[in-house]
């Protein structure tokens, strides 16, 4: 963090290309402003997201992760989002138990026509992350193990 600049959370978004990614695009083309805190990664379906991606992002120092796919019943591959839902649900709950703030793992359903909703989701998630502060989960030094902050 540079002195004088306010800390801004970094958020990684895994967006399904059929819906949420297109929703983000629509937000852009309709000149809606969403926080620049999100770094978007396009995935073929929310069902592509292995919880490992979420852990890896947190390990790399991202402050939060958003997984976003098509609404229930609207997945291009029929069931990808249902599978994503179960995985994200257990991940979120389990991480909370281990001690990771639940705000850091977020999920939403955003269709290709919901540019407005996308803007809102990113704004809300960013706000939540600002409240809990930077992710220092993995960066804390342990004495003697020579681990550098990421």
């Amino acid at each position: 963090m540079r002195q004088g600049t306010e800390w801004e959370p970094k958020l990684v978004g895994f967006l399904c290309k059929w819906c949420s990614y297109a929703g983000a695009d629509l937000a852009g083309t309709s000149r809606k402003k969403y926080p620049a805190n999100i770094r978007i990664i396009k995935v073929p379906c929310s069902g592509r997201v292995d919880p490992l991606f979420i852990l890896k992002a947190l390990r790399l120092g991202f402050d939060g992760v958003l997984v976003s796919g098509c609404h229930p019943g609207e997945c291009h591959y029929q069931t990808g989002n249902y599978r994503a839902r179960r995985r994200v649900a257990i991940t979120k709950k389990f991480l909370e138990y281990v001690g990771i703030e639940p705000q850091r793992v977020q999920a939403s359903w955003v269709s290709a026509s919901e540019g407005g909703k996308f803007t809102e989701v990113v704004a809300e998630v960013t706000k939540g992350l600002k409240e809990i502060g930077p992710n220092q989960l993995f960066s804390q030094e342990r004495q003697g193990d020579g681990t550098k902050a990421t």
Binding site: L52, T79, V88, E96, Y97, V98, G99, S108, V121, T147
Partner: protein, 316 residues
């Protein structure tokens, strides 16, 4: 029960109904058992059934070729069913020799109870809801709930639900839920920061031997994510950060397959309380999706199955 098992196993091999028998025999250390995996009918006489058979033998099912007769306690039989749900083994290739289980004795607990090493004990027997220990010619009795493994104290299905031959009358478990949940409840009382600190400390001891993964019947990937190099998900060196990520993701990957058999915690050479993670996941999947691992061989696995509306409160 033991003699019946030996006869059944011998007959299965003789009649060519199975190629392999997987069971337990006496180990070299006192009281301990060790897995017996054999094709030889004469070995059947070495099979034992006793309250020290800790291993979840389901882990060996995928390692032998052909038809297998396998000894299974309640939790093991669920692990076998779970493998069937994942199409890892076919029902017709397995003959389940079900053992109605009354709980497995935790020798470390026994040592603590009597204040002696296991080698100094003459005998340990299960008598009703008691465990009797003979030491220096004296007989001491303890409640079974004090001497069994934590996971056995939480056991819901001690008698195999899926079997071909049941080697005895169905058993009831001596549950003591509070005792089985004690460590987990303590963790839940902590703040998230304290919990994170707790696990961070625990996993700074992990040497990444992968014993927990290798012993687990639910961990059956040909190539584990920890060994992938492009991308490299976690560093191979044992740093607490990567150790913890390995274990968290392993828990997520075995969600809905883990039967709370307790094997991972038992094998950990540095005594990380792994069951405090696996059991919580076990309870979470039940709470969120009313799913219990290995109960129905026809059912879709947890992470494949779905309902139209569920866990929606977690989505925006």
């Amino acid at each position: 029960m033991e003699q019946r098992l030996r006869n059944e196993a011998k007959a299965l091999l003789e009649q060519g109904k199975v190629d392999w028998i997987i069971g337990f025999e006496s180990g070299s250390l006192k009281f301990a058992t060790t897995p017996l995996i054999t094709k030889d009918k004469n070995d059947a006489d070495r099979l034992v059934i006793n309250p020290f058979m800790v291993n979840n033998l389901a882990n060996f099912l995928t390692e032998v070729k052909g038809r297998v007769g396998i000894v299974a306690k309640g939790c093991d039989s669920r692990s076998i069913v779970s493998l069937m749900q994942d199409n890892k083994v076919a029902r017709e290739d397995v003959v389940i020799l079900g053992v109605p289980c009354r709980g497995i004795i935790d020798l470390s607990k026994v040592e603590r109870l009597v204040g002696k090493e296991r080698d100094e004990l003459d005998d340990i027997t299960r008598e009703g809801d008691k465990v009797a220990i003979k030491v220096d010619g004296e007989k001491k009795e303890f409640l079974a709930t004090e001497a069994l493994f934590d996971n056995c104290l939480a056991c819901e299905f001690p008698t195999p639900q899926e079997y071909d031959i049941l080697l005895g009358e169905p058993s009831t478990s001596v549950v003591n839920k509070p005792a089985a949940q004690e460590k987990i409840e303590k963790l839940k009382e902590m703040t998230p920061e304290q919990r994170w600190e707790f696990w961070k400390n625990e996993f700074s001891r992990c040497i990444r031997c992968y014993a927990c993964r290798n012993v687990c019947p639910a961990c059956f990937c040909q190539r584990c994510f920890v060994e992938e190099t492009e991308p490299q998900w976690v560093l191979p060196v044992p740093r607490w950060q990567d150790n913890l990520i390995f274990q968290i993701v392993r828990n997520i990957h075995v969600a809905g397959r883990c039967t709370d058999c307790g094997e991972c915690e038992r094998v950990c050479p540095v005594n990380i309380p792994l069951r405090s993670l696996t059991k919580e996941m076990y309870d979470l999947v039940d709470e969120l999706f009313h799913y219990k691992a290995g109960m129905d061989k026809e059912a879709a696995p947890l992470l494949i199955a779905y309902e139209y509306a569920e866990a929606e409160d977690l989505f925006r």
